[in-house]
């Protein structure tokens, strides 16, 4: 296989292994790499070479999608530092966080009774986004201080937030379908 699969995702893009990355450099190098390996560059090549190009291109896409999302990037970085995630058996969160989760969920459940459910939902999603951005800042600090175990819990909390947003989106879809 040509892209060296032993290289970690940061190395593929020639970036230092760090939570803080320059996303414009990431985007630029991603484009340069895809210009070299994308299957469309091999449209008139043999079937074998086209298959190889698909694999290479897919690997680079995987690397990009991991580094582009702060949550996935943090998780990947923690894994590089020997932290293991066992998603089946989730760690218990602190009470304050769980209380807030319940409040969010209640708010989601009540959207249907609102006068303008679309804009209420949009407001709610904005405040969840804001909270999420906040939590990512905290995560960045934890990783900088190499407090990896605490960072791991923060990643798990952020996964909750992500699920919550997915629920909001599916509610939005339901509302749109009912139009």
């Amino acid at each position: 296989m040509a892209v060296e699969f032993t290289q970690n995702y940061f190395e593929i893009f020639g970036l230092p292994v760090d939570f803080t990355i320059d996303t414009s450099i990431l985007a630029e190098r991603y484009r340069e790499l895809q210009k070299t390996v994308h299957p469309d560059r091999f449209a008139s090549a043999s079937d074998r070479d086209r298959r190889l190009a698909v694999q290479q291109s897919a690997h680079i896409n995987e690397a990009l999608s991991t580094l582009k999302s702060p949550l996935k990037r943090a998780r990947y970085l923690l894994q590089l530092n020997g932290i293991e995630f066992d998603d089946e058996n989730e760690t218990t969160m602190d009470a304050e966080f769980l209380m807030q989760q319940m409040e969010w969920r209640e708010a989601v459940a009540e959207i249907n009774q609102k006068q303008d459910p679309f804009s209420s939902l949009n407001q709610l999603m904005k405040s969840i986004d804001k909270k999420q951005a906040n939590m990512i800042d905290q995560l960045q600090n934890l990783i900088r201080k190499q407090e990896y175990e605490t960072a791991k819990v923060q990643v798990q909390k952020l996964q909750f937030m992500e699920k919550l947003l997915l629920e909001c989106e599916s509610l939005e879809q339901d509302l749109a379908d009912a139009l």
Partner: protein, 624 residues
């Protein structure tokens, strides 16, 4: 000896040969074909000078070939059951889906043994794929007559929101029409290419594409010839047809026409509704004059305000979808520099108004919304055919809907989330739950919902040939790969023994390979041809392609090989050269395979070299 026939550096082996390639917009209402000629992209007209081919096919009995286009469209009200329009809405759908599309079923559908429904016509039962192939065939002939030679390849556009079954159906239609489909290209991406290259635009763009039967919104980043789709969203059963239907229903209410009126009356109503909608793009109000089955006429008036009331809920749906696309792209309304309007239905003023309101800017409408998609497809076809060896253009697209697997309790586990850049490959490990188990079945789904029953089933994958072991010992790695066309393929390996498990795919809504083969043999285009001759020609083309590519590769990177390696490759190349003129396609194929095996390492190290080159400069700045 073959290796010595090397041309000048940077040139292909046949420098003067320009490969004929076209882009085809296979639309719900109209279809078009476009090409790049002497540096200019143009859509190709028919003999009467018409560029748009109405996507309508009328089947006649008695072995006559079908009538396609305007003439068919004019016969729609008189011969409604044999005249198929808007067939795109049925592509890749089962009969149950079609019943849910809204409105009464316009044709006599027949449920067959297979999952693909057929429409009963005077020329026999026709699947939507065959109807689409008949439209494509007309465009193929038009292009070959205009350009004076056979086409090397085509790019066919599809709505970005088409799922795997709908894409596969489109590709099959192309095959059936005798086309080499180099790529399926998403319509909004094609439009962005046409606009971007025309205006030299950079930055974030939103493409709002509302056609006759489908709606797409794509958010793209344009930079230095790279068109990177950040997100896409849409609805494959929402379009101008729905505007017409809303108007037609309103007329029926006003004119007291009952729901169970004749097929012909319904067709006429839809045509009247469409005309009224078009008139309201120019005028404040329009007269209605509806011919009734009784021979009498009903007269009325429709104004813009009434029209807006009828279609606002539909437009509202598109606006909500735009919001989701922005969220997925992680950009805000303020980041969007350009909004491009595509598709005939964006001529409806209310659509422009509401979309402009949402994005807080005037949308661009300066390229003909009917032609822009075909134009973009032609540009991409030209690049893929190899006519622009140093072209900067690169399109990076995404998968529109999540792919998942059925897990316990009828739930879906997502393997590849929507808006993941393609190509993409993800692996999932499975194990056996019984001692000695040698097979298993996996159901693959597409959609965003949690329940299997709310997603669309793409098919059942049955694995066989798992080595017999105790329960839980086998480790079966199933890899899901989505290629640049957005099409899924699945492979499986038993990891502990490295045995390739065989996979049988039973598509939920698609033709099986045997069905396609039978259709190919039955179709007129192929009846004339000798199938064996066609097979040989196909292998010869592949042989030439492999040889050309290898010669260029050796010329550029021959230094990566040892002398012994060069010798092995030369021998395999000679062998292929010797059998190329033969009459047995299997022998040629075998020689190609052999050459491919001999060059596997070489191909890998070449790609590795180019990746290193792509990044070489930077790593020095960064860590030096």
């Amino acid at each position: 000896m073959a290796l010595l026939q090397i041309s000048e550096p940077g040139q292909s082996t046949k420098p003067h040969e320009r490969r004929l390639a076209v882009g085809i917009d296979l639309g719900t209402t109209n279809s078009l074909v476009a090409t790049v000629r002497s540096g200019r992209t143009e859509t190709l007209p028919d003999e009467q000078g018409e560029h748009l081919l109405p996507s309508v096919v009328r089947y006649l009995g008695n072995q006559q070939s079908p009538v396609v286009g305007k003439q068919a469209s004019q016969a729609a009200a008189d011969d409604p059951l044999n005249t198929i329009s808007s067939v795109k809405r049925f592509m890749g759908r089962g009969l149950d889906d079609i019943k849910h599309l809204g409105g009464r079923l316009p044709y006599d559908f027949v449920q067959t043994e297979t999952s693909v429904p057929r429409i009963k016509t005077a020329a026999g039962d026709k699947s939507p794929i065959e109807v689409s192939a008949d439209i494509l065939r007309v465009l193929k002939e038009r292009a070959e007559e205009t350009l004076g030679d056979e086409l090397t390849g085509v790019v066919i556009t599809v709505p970005a929101y088409f799922d795997d079954a709908q894409r596969q159906a489109t590709k099959d239609a192309g095959k059936l029409a005798g086309l080499n489909v180099m790529r399926l290209l998403n319509e909004p991406t094609a439009a962005a290419v046409a606009y971007g290259l025309d205006k030299g635009a950079e930055g974030i763009a939103a493409v709002f594409d509302l056609g006759g039967g489908t709606f797409d919104i794509s958010i793209l980043r344009l930079e230095k010839g790279v068109f990177e789709v950040l997100s896409t969203a849409g609805d494959t059963s929402l379009g101008g047809d729905d505007f017409d239907r809303a108007i037609a229903q309103w007329i029926m209410l006003q004119a007291d026409i009952s729901d169970d009126t004749s097929h012909g009356q319904l067709r006429r109503l839809m045509q009247d509704a469409c005309k009224a909608k078009e008139a309201l793009a120019e005028n404040e109000s329009t007269e209605l004059n509806v011919q009734l089955d009784s021979g009498e006429h009903w007269q009325g008036r429709l104004d813009r305000e009434q029209l807006n009331q009828l279609i606002d809920p539909l437009i509202q749906k598109t606006v909500i979808t735009c919001r989701r696309a922005l969220r997925d792209a992680q950009v805000s309304v303020d980041d969007v520099q350009t909004v491009v309007m595509v598709g005939g239905s964006t001529r409806t003023l209310r659509v422009r108004e509401k979309v402009g309101e949402f994005f807080a800017q005037d949308p661009m409408i300066d390229i003909n919304p009917d032609k822009v998609v075909a134009t973009g497809a032609a540009i991409q076809a030209d690049v893929l055919a190899g006519n622009k060896p140093d072209g900067e253009l690169l399109l990076l697209d995404v998968i529109p809907l999540s792919l998942g697997l059925e897990t316990m309790g009828g739930l879906v586990e997502k393997i590849i989330p929507r808006n993941t850049t393609i190509p993409v490959a993800r692996a999932q490990d499975f194990t056996t739950y019984k001692d000695g188990q040698t097979g298993m079945t996996i159901q693959v789904l597409q959609g965003e919902r949690e329940l299997v029953s709310d997603c669309r089933s793409l098919g059942q994958f049955s694995l066989h040939g798992i080595p017999s072991m105790v329960a839980g010992a086998a480790r079966i790695r199933v890899t899901f790969q989505v290629d640049a066309d957005g099409l899924l393929s699945v492979t499986a390996t038993e990891e502990t023994n490295q045995v390739e498990a065989s996979i049988q795919i039973k598509p939920s809504y698609g033709l099986t390979d045997t069905e396609i083969e039978t259709m190919l043999k039955d179709s007129i285009a192929y009846a004339k041809d000798d199938v064996e001759l066609r097979n040989v020609r196909e292998q010869q083309v592949e042989a030439d392609r492999v040889t050309d590519a290898l010669q260029i590769a050796l010329q550029q990177d021959g230094d990566l090989l040892t002398e012994a390696e060069v010798k092995t490759i030369e021998t395999a190349l000679m062998e292929l050269h010797n059998v190329r003129e033969g009459t047995d396609h299997r022998v040629i194929k075998k020689a190609i395979d052999k050459l491919n095996v001999a060059t596997t390492e070489f191909a890998a190290s070449r790609m590795n070299k180019s990746i290193k080159q792509a990044l070489a400069g930077h790593q020095i700045d960064e860590f030096g």
